[in-house]
């Protein structure tokens, strides 16, 4: 989870302290469509995650990424 929060903080350019597993797309103005896809790209790359296209819209908060991480 710590690595995931680091990724989210870096992509969205916000302080790690302001990110929790429950932080959602609605909570952070910078979490727009483009950054959502950038987050998916980084999660797939750095966390060995695989997120199917039809599931991308179901990722609404930080912890949702963990459903798709192979090595937790």
């Amino acid at each position: 989870m710590e690595k995931l929060i680091e990724i989210v903080a870096e992509i969205l350019n916000v302080d790690k302290a302001n990110i929790s597993p429950e932080t959602s797309r609605d909570d952070i103005p910078a979490w727009d469509s483009f950054n959502h896809i950038r987050l998916i790209a980084e999660a797939e790359d750095q966390l060995d995650a695989k997120i199917p296209f039809e599931k991308i819209s179901e990722i609404r908060k930080v912890s949702d990424f963990l459903n798709y991480v192979k090595r937790k």
Partner: protein, 203 residues
């Protein structure tokens, strides 16, 4: 909808006039959802009568087109445009039909398909859109595609208790030609091996 080659994650677009009547009915329900209406210039509820006239208008005016966007067999968005033949330009708009789809990247898919259709099928010179200025995420999305902000119409739309500014943004083929490469890299991440179908003329 009966394309054997269609994969479950492929994106495709269908003109509303080519779809079953249930989609015409669904369209009004989607359009009348609170989270959709609050981003529209006309935020009122659309009556059955108004909706019927709108559909008739689509049948009569070939320059105005409305498409339902699908992933596999699941509808996710509505895309419409007006073609201005004399000016060789096109104005578009779109919305997602479930609130959970907001900021999920599906808008990128629709905007990408629309720009390719406009510039490479319809060969228009300019694509533009008008957005309520408080809809900052959508204005930012258009900027990421390369749209230039051409102006802000101050206090242009009268809402129930206030006047709202409207931002006009536009893009030209020369800009899109360069920017589409960046967008395609993002779409590759999103789509994996799935494809985005073309926006086609009516069957």
């Amino acid at each position: 909808m009966d394309n054997d080659k269609l994969k479950s994650g492929d994106v495709h677009f269908h003109n509303i006039l080519d779809l079953d009547a249930e989609y015409i009915s669904n369209l009004r329900n989607w359009r009348n959802q609170d989270f959709v209406r609050e981003k529209m210039f006309n935020q009122g509820l659309i009556s059955e009568d108004e909706h019927g006239k709108f559909i008739e208008h689509l049948r009569e005016i070939s320059e105005k087109r409305l498409y339902i966007c699908f992933i596999g067999e699941k509808a996710f968005g509505v895309l419409d445009y007006n073609l201005f033949i004399n000016n060789n330009s096109l104005e578009f708009g779109y919305y997602l039909i479930e609130q959970g789809y907001t900021n999920s990247g599906l808008g990128i898919v629709m905007e990408y398909a629309l720009l390719n259709h406009a510039f490479y099928d319809l060969n228009v010179h300019k694509v533009f859109c008008r957005t309520l200025s408080n809809n900052e995420k959508v204005i930012s999305l258009h900027k990421n595609f390369g749209f230039l902000t051409e102006g802000v119409m101050k206090q242009h739309i009268k809402m129930v208790n206030r006047y709202m500014d409207v931002t006009i943004q536009a893009i030209y083929e020369s800009i899109w030609r360069d920017n589409r490469i960046v967008i395609e890299k993002l779409l590759k991440v999103m789509l994996g091996n799935n494809n985005i179908g073309r926006i086609e003329e009516r069957c």
